[in-house]
């Protein structure tokens, strides 16, 4: 009998703790599929963040390291430099990557570290209960901006792909979402390119996923997907952002 569909080998056969309607599960699966398709599971090392995905090491079937908050790109740098043959990816949320870890991500990208960063942006701090994130949209309500994000007070959301794509060490950057089957297919294509970029030794790669948080957005899963399409994708346009000027 021919097997048409199944659990990727790189994905552990365990239930996750993610909330209903959260897209972490889809993103995990896509990563696992790409690792399988590239045949690199046995030399892959993942780095989980502090945030909702802190337990990602339980969900993947490859070596995994838990980093401190925001430092995953530095930890990944240490691993990759010590074992250049490893395939190293970080899995980071918006607070982890764009707030407390803003320094680490910028410098890992500018050094052109041969790592792949999975950046999951759901515009809110999920695990700690719905506080404002560096990517919270203007006007969006959270528990620490209950009247909506006032950009005069709390500043403006950070567009990570646009910011990092100005750095010469970057080889591949894309922003995707998984709100529809078509978007899932596109997202997987971008993810595969990112890992291939690392395998080709051509520089830093990152894929940003616009993701949902029905629990803290106080929406149904379907409403949350629509909010990603209607609101988030307006502020954070989908597409590839690798327009790195070659200077010097």
């Amino acid at each position: 009998m021919q097997r048409l569909f199944g659990r990727p080998e790189a994905l552990a056969d365990v239930p996750t703790h993610y909330c209903p309607g959260c897209t972490h599960g889809i993103i995990h699966r896509l990563i696992a599929e790409v690792i399988d398709e590239l045949g690199v599971r046995e030399r892959t090392v993942g780095i989980s963040p502090v945030g909702c995905a802190v337990l990602a090491y339980d969900y993947f079937n490859c070596d995994f390291v838990e980093a401190s908050h925001g430092r995953a790109p530095a930890v990944a740098t240490g691993i990759k430099r010590a074992s250049p043959g490893a395939v190293v990816f970080t899995y980071q949320g918006d607070g982890d990557l764009a707030s407390i870890g803003a320094g680490e991500i910028v410098h890992a990208a500018s050094r052109g570290e041969r790592i792949t960063v999975i950046f999951v942006n759901n515009a809110i701090y999920g695990m700690t209960g719905g506080q404002m994130a560096p990517t919270t949209l203007p006007g969006q309500k959270t528990t620490t901006c209950p009247r909506g994000r006032d950009t005069d007070v709390a500043g403006h959301p950070i567009r990570v792909c646009e910011l990092l794509s100005s750095l010469s060490g970057v080889a591949y950057i894309a922003r995707v979402s998984v709100t529809s089957p078509a978007n899932v297919v596109k997202a997987k294509r971008a993810l595969k390119r990112a890992f291939e970029t690392q395998l080709a030794d051509s520089g830093f790669s990152l894929v940003e996923f616009l993701s949902t948080c029905p629990t803290n957005w106080a929406m149904t899963p379907v409403e949350a997907l629509k909010w990603v399409d209607d609101k988030m994708a307006m502020y954070y346009p989908l597409g590839e952002y690798t327009h790195v000027p070659e200077v010097g």
């Binding site: 046995e42 070596d63 995994f64 390291v65 530095a74 740098t77 240490g78 691993i79 395939v87 320094g103």
Partner: protein
């Protein structure tokens, strides 16, 4: 081997690490230890190793965490304000049981402080420094030779216990030049790093983490660490004594200060006083029992530090209030002159306090 070369303390640290098999170095410039990353940037490519200047001590120490996960022999070096920034990664490495070597070429604090030698990071080094119940092995060398020997051995000890090891130097030791020879540390059977995250090829996956959400499991983990610290405390106590037998007054000092104290007590002996020196080499574990034994017959104990009194607390713990413990310290990057210490000795002995 056997050949003596003249080396600056900081360079000796770097070369000792290379000779001990350290092949990854991550660091950030800070005075007074810049010779170490500079030396590493020249030397690492020659031995096929990794030198990387990090964007901060926070990042650099987390790169150390990563390289340690990969099973590499890895070191970072810094000075006081930079070591404060590394406390996050140090706590995580202690929690995840990752071996690494951290060298602190201490300068005066608090805050930005100054750049001259000090011993005011003793509490930070010996009490943990970061959050949580953990310990580092901490050594306080007093000569460039000892700095070199302990740095080399530190890599073995880190691997043996799966724990960060800290060398606590100071600006004077880092900057001074002394003749040294490279000596191999005693051969140890070190366990293979089967826990390292090198890719799950032909084995179940390895996970490195310090997260235990279940308090019962976290307590169990902490008790496991405590067992290890107990073993470290039993096996790694180091100290030296100088004329402590029958001494009326015993000076207690470590690192650079121990050398100054020794010069002072030699002068005291010339004057007919009976004085000795107890020098802790392992600051954690502190040589409590040995100190107690070495001061049993002494009437006075004088602790000398380049701080306002940090190690003195361990001395008081060791002696249990049975003896009057005096303290003399200079701080902020000032070092005590032998004359000042001699005056202090004379004052204490004269008073018979």
């Amino acid at each position: 081997m056997g050949e003596k070369v003249l080396m600056k303390g900081n360079e000796a640290v770097a070369e000792a690490a290379i000779r001990a098999g350290c092949r990854c170095f991550f660091g950030y410039p800070i005075t007074p230890q810049n010779e170490i990353p500079e030396y590493m940037s020249r030397r690492m490519p020659e031995v096929g190793g990794v030198f990387l200047q990090a964007e901060s001590e926070v990042a650099g120490s987390n790169m150390v965490y990563g390289a340690a996960c990969a099973g590499a022999r890895v070191m970072t070096t810094s000075s006081s304000p930079g070591i404060s920034l590394m406390q996050e990664a140090i706590s995580y490495m202690a929690g995840a049981e990752l071996p690494c070597v951290i060298v602190n070429i201490v300068r005066g604090g608090p805050g930005l402080g100054g750049i001259q030698g000090a011993q005011s990071d003793y509490f930070q080094a010996t009490r943990g420094g970061g959050h949580g119940d953990y310990r580092l092995l901490v050594f306080g060398p007093s000569t460039v030779q000892e700095l070199m020997d302990l740095t080399m051995e530190a890599f073995d000890l880190a691997d043996m216990y799966r724990n960060p090891v800290m060398i606590l130097g100071d600006a004077i030791l880092g900057q001074m030049m002394e003749p040294v020879e490279f000596r191999e540390p005693p051969k140890r059977d070190l366990p293979p790093k089967i826990w390292a995250t090198t890719g799950a090829a032909g084995r179940p996956k390895n996970i490195i983490s310090s997260l235990y959400l279940d308090p019962a499991k976290l307590e169990k983990h902490n008790l496991h660490l405590a067992e290890k610290y107990k073993r470290m405390a039993a096996e790694q106590v180091r100290y030296s004594t100088y004329k402590t037998e029958d001494a009326d007054i015993v000076l207690v000092a470590y690192g650079t200060t121990a050398r100054i104290a020794r010069a002072a007590l030699d002068k005291a002996i010339e004057r007919g006083l009976s004085a000795g020196l107890f020098r802790p080499i392992s600051l954690w574990p502190f040589p409590y029992e040995a100190l107690k034994a070495a001061t049993r017959r002494a009437a006075h104990v004088l602790v000398v530090e380049m701080s306002l009194g940090q190690m003195v607390e361990d001395v008081r713990l060791a002696l249990g209030g049975g003896k009057s413990v005096h303290f003399y310290g200079r701080t902020g990057g000032m070092s005590p002159a032998p004359r000042e210490i001699l005056d202090e000795i004379v004052k204490i002995v004269d008073k018979g306090a």
